[in-house]
């Protein structure tokens, strides 16, 4: 038997692919910020911190997360509440709570707390799960969604809701219920459009379908992003040579639209390699989920990695003009402290859930 003290819980596939991704991300960020080295230094400090958090987190036994899941979600929600009451307004939305020198986007934590909490709630329930459990889960999901969406940040709110729904689905939600919910959603979509969406959100969706209707207003970002990616061609314009990026035609190059920078400067080949790394990470997550030691771990890995995937695909679809513009960073590459830290935290949890094995059946 292995010595418990020397055992380090570590998944080399996840670790190295994330290391490659975030190292390349530093170069992309350097180009996107027109060669401003201080941004890159700050980002690498966050990365170092992130890897430390990831390794530390993965050492914890999954049971620790299970036992503290209620505490975790209460902490996340109260942080959100504090933001709601005190947080400074940035771009008309209160999403940030200032902690010392850096701002923390408090909804990031809820994306982790909610799936863990639901996994803990559902992992010992009999199949198929009962209406009462579904109802409780949905109430919790909706409450979390409502809190985030009211900030107002509909995009993150939907991601938070998705993180819960993934767990609910993976734990065995009946197909007939899913079908019914889907029908209700479609029927109520006009109501959602009119009452729930803010005018600027409606505008963004409208712009998606016709970006040329307002090329210098809401359509500007999408148009310029498509020009940047399209003009990159197969091989790209070269590192630091993207005119769309370097001449500031591209908006938000360091955050939401950094994928367009990659597309412009490294072309289709660069994009393909980047997507391959992301896909590899996700496949590794699927493998870890399938081979996890118990139902709780499966649900948590599934929920968190699928939330990560949703996050990623929404960003990609947004910058290539398939989805309306929502504030959503490209994981491990976009500039930003809180999203990076919570990402590493998330992959620390995934590693913990995937690498802690029980050798004896219960």
């Amino acid at each position: 038997m292995m010595n418990k003290l020397t055992k380090i819980y570590f998944d080399p596939y996840l670790f190295f692919s994330i290391l490659i991704l975030s190292t390349f991300g530093l170069f992309f960020l350097y180009s996107a910020s027109n060669g401003e080295i201080s941004i890159v230094i700050k980002q690498s400090i966050y990365l170092g911190l992130g890897f430390a958090i990831m390794i530390l987190t993965s050492q914890a036994d999954p049971d620790l997360f299970r036992r503290t899941s209620l505490l975790f979600i209460i902490f996340s929600i109260s942080l959100l509440g504090i933001t709601f009451l005190l947080g400074p307004e940035i771009n008309g939305a209160q999403r940030w709570v200032r902690m010392g020198s850096f701002s923390f986007q408090s909804s990031e934590l809820l994306k982790l707390a909610l799936p863990i909490f639901l996994a803990n709630f559902l992992f010992d329930k009999k199949l198929p799960i009962q209406s009462k459990e579904i109802f409780i889960s949905l109430v919790i999901i909706f409450a979390a969604f409502f809190l985030v969406a009211r900030q107002p940040d509909l995009g993150t709110g939907l991601i938070v809701a998705l993180s819960g729904i993934f767990v609910l689905f993976l734990s065995g939600l009946s197909w007939s219920f899913i079908g019914g919910a889907f029908v209700i959603l479609i029927i109520s979509s006009p109501l959602i459009w009119n009452s729930l969406l803010q005018p600027f959100q409606q505008q963004r969706i409208a712009t998606l379908f016709n970006p040329n209707s307002d090329p210098f207003g809401a359509g500007w970002n999408i148009t310029q992003s498509k020009i940047a990616i399209g003009s990159g061609g197969i091989f790209g314009k070269g590192f630091g040579e993207g005119s769309q990026t370097q001449l500031n035609f591209l908006p938000e190059t360091k955050t939401d639209f950094i994928f367009s920078v990659i597309g412009e400067e490294f072309g289709f080949i660069g994009v393909f390699l980047l997507l391959a790394i992301y896909f590899f990470i996700l496949m590794r997550c699927l493998y870890l989920a399938l081979s996890a030691r118990d139902r709780f771990c499966r649900l948590v890995i599934g929920g968190i990695s699928l939330t990560f995937a949703a996050n990623l695909i929404i960003n990609l679809c947004m910058v290539v003009g398939l989805l309306p513009v929502v504030g959503m960073p490209l994981p491990f590459i976009s500039k930003g402290g809180s999203s990076l830290i919570s990402l590493f935290f998330a992959f620390g949890i995934i590693t913990s859930m995937g690498t802690h094995k029980k050798f004896l059946p219960q």
């Binding site: 199949l127 399209g230 035609f249 992301y278 679809c317």
Partner: protein, 612 residues
């Protein structure tokens, strides 16, 4: 949970997880497909869009061609002046800057306000801004001494369109003015970029507005150059990438003669009227003068609103080109044409005499048409009729003429239509016909109307240009040329070539002889100008009546009103017997043609013949 239950749960989880990850995989494929569509399928259009974002082409104004007279002397040239130009993007505070520069360069309140108004916009796009135009040499010297204190200001050359004879060539040369619309046609530079054009004229983007500046605008304009800048998304020009110099427009060489034009202006003085002179060899227009006039220099380079509106509202209409647009009854100057018509149609010959009692009675209704001389000229043949300008002879001849034929004949001499190849906005004046009268006035053509045409009165009106063209055909013995301002090799023609007029050589000789007699013989109506020159000249004078009156007494009454007085007209050519130039002169309200318009015509002929 029991083992089987766990196995069921695990399988259930696996299938659901694979299902969701498959959706994720589909999302990846969708993104990859879209990126492929953008980067590979639509690459060229996005590449172009990125280039368009990056590059900003700015036109460079070309120099306009200059205009010369027939001796190669400049009529209009590009005069360099010096402007004080600033770079607003290098100036932090325009108010402070103005305070610093004011002790060096005097600025009017208007100049200051204009500068501050445009400052912000120009600073934003990195463009220069003119602070003061047309610096004096004193100001230039004062600035140069202190220029080290003003890194953001420099003096640069800007051109002005200038004529050394600003008043006398106004109508024929015309003026330029600021205009942007001609550049809409240029394909290589978007229209909106023209506001950022690099200008070399102080007055901005200029274009010919009237006269030959307009007619030959394309010829004179030249080809604009281009500077391509790399630009950032805020519209700021980062660095120049490419430069194509502009090409200066072609110079225009004209048939105009500065000396003759000056003598026309001088001898017309401050009277209203027009002078046109045509070179008989090429049909070149040597003189085209209309008085009163205005300064093209002022119009081309900026004139105050007050000055402009006072020109517009001047009752003497200085903008009106009397030479090519003024409609005057040709009066007696038409008589040679009527005589040629009679000869061509065998209605008369040089021998047959007609009794001239001083009036003509229309047989149809007994209406009396009077001559200019009480008692008449007794028996007159064609030559005498021309010499003494017998109205009765031509009343009778016109009475016997068919108006349709006569109208056609006058038309072949250029009446009723444009005659000049390259004049700006020429008026065709008016040649009546029976058909026209019936359709427009609802009255048939009467023989009395034809009788009036016989002495150049009635409905017939002509421009001085048409009169000069008509007399040049006679002087050239029927050879019709297109009068043209620009020299042959550069000239464009807006009209078709006219047909020559046929008449026997003998008839031409006799006609020239008769017209020479008008000036050179003792009986000629224009004999008062005989001694003003050293060569022989031919011509025909006329007095255009503005009011139809029955008696001399009645005219003396209306004479008090200057604007109702007769117009004085002469058409002339010389030197005889081998004429080189033809000239027409109209002096409004000048009365007696020979004595008033005659000396002007002689002065112009003398000047053209270098016989002063």
């Amino acid at each position: 949970m029991i083992f089987e239950e766990r196995q069921v749960e695990k399988n259930n989880f696996s299938s659901r997880a694979v299902f969701l990850f498959a959706i994720v995989g589909a999302g990846f494929l969708l993104v990859l497909f879209q990126v492929f569509a953008l980067q590979v399928y639509s690459y060229s259009s996005y590449e172009l869009a990125a280039l368009n974002n990056k590059n900003y082409s700015v036109p460079i104004q070309p120099l306009r061609g200059e205009i010369f007279d027939r001796n190669g002397e400049a009529i209009v040239r590009n005069q360099p002046t010096f402007d004080l130009i600033t770079q607003p993007d290098l100036i932090d505070n325009p108010e402070v800057f103005l305070k610093l520069i004011k002790p060096v360069i005097h600025l009017s309140a208007i100049e200051e306000v204009q500068y501050l108004k445009k400052f912000k916009e120009k600073a934003f796009v990195n463009k220069e801004l003119v602070l003061k135009k047309n610096l004096t040499s004193e100001e230039i010297a004062r600035f140069n001494v202190r220029s080290f204190g003003f890194k953001n200001v420099f003096i640069d050359k800007r051109y002005r369109r200038l004529s050394d004879y600003p008043e006398i060539f106004s109508h024929v040369i015309g003026y330029t003015s600021r205009s942007d619309n001609q550049y809409e046609m240029s394909m290589d530079i978007p229209r909106s970029h023209w506001v950022d054009a690099e200008l070399i004229y102080a007055n901005g983007l200029i274009q010919g507005k009237t006269g030959i500046e307009e007619t030959y605008n394309q010829h004179l304009s030249g080809q604009h150059g281009k500077r391509i800048y790399e630009r950032n998304s805020r519209g700021r020009l980062v660095q120049p990438l490419e430069y194509n110099p502009s090409r200066k427009g072609l110079d225009l060489h004209t048939n105009l003669d500065i000396k003759a034009q000056m003598s026309a202006a001088r001898s017309l003085g401050n009277r209203k009227g027009a002078v046109v002179a045509i070179d008989l060899k090429h049909g070149g227009i040597n003189v085209l003068y209309s008085a009163p006039s205005y300064s093209i220099n002022k119009l081309s380079n900026g004139m105050s609103v007050e000055e402009f509106s006072s020109l517009i509202s001047d009752p003497n209409k200085p903008f009106f080109n009397r030479a090519s647009q003024g409609r005057y009854p040709p009066a007696s100057t038409i008589k040679p044409a009527i005589g040629m018509f009679g000869l061509t149609n065998k209605l008369i010959n040089w021998i047959d005499e007609v009794d001239d009692p001083g009036y003509f009675t229309l047989p149809e209704n007994g209406r009396i048409y009077r001559g200019w001389k009480e008692g008449g000229h007794n028996n007159v043949n064609l030559k005498k009729a021309i010499l003494v300008s017998s109205n009765t002879y031509f009343f009778k001849l016109a009475y016997r003429s068919d108006m349709i034929d006569l109208s056609q004949y006058l038309s072949s001499l250029g009446f009723g239509d444009q005659v000049c190849g390259d004049c700006y906005d020429e008026d065709g004046a008016f040649l009546p016909s029976p058909d026209w009268k019936y359709r427009n006035l609802n009255v048939p053509w009467f023989t009395g109307d034809t009788v009036n045409i016989g002495v150049g009165q009635g409905y017939l009106v002509a421009t001085p240009l048409q009169l000069a063209n008509y007399i040049s055909i006679i002087a050239n013995k029927g050879k019709a040329l297109i009068p043209s301002i620009a020299k042959e090799d550069q000239a464009i023609s807006k009209i078709d070539a006219p047909k020559d007029i046929t008449l026997s050589n003998q008839n031409w000789r006799k006609m020239h002889d008769a017209l020479t007699g008008v000036i050179e013989s003792d009986y000629g109506t224009a004999r008062s100008i005989r001694d003003l020159k050293n060569f022989q000249a031919a011509g025909k004078s006329g007095t255009a009546e503005l009011v139809s009156l029955d008696s001399k007494e009645a005219y003396l009454e209306i004479r008090d009103t200057e604007l109702l007085r007769d117009h004085s007209i002469i058409v002339a050519f010389g030197p005889m017997p081998n004429p080189q130039y033809a000239v027409s002169v109209v002096i409004e309200n000048g009365e007696s043609g020979g004595a008033v318009a005659g000396p002007v015509a002689i002065e112009v002929l003398k000047s053209l013949l270098n016989d002063e």
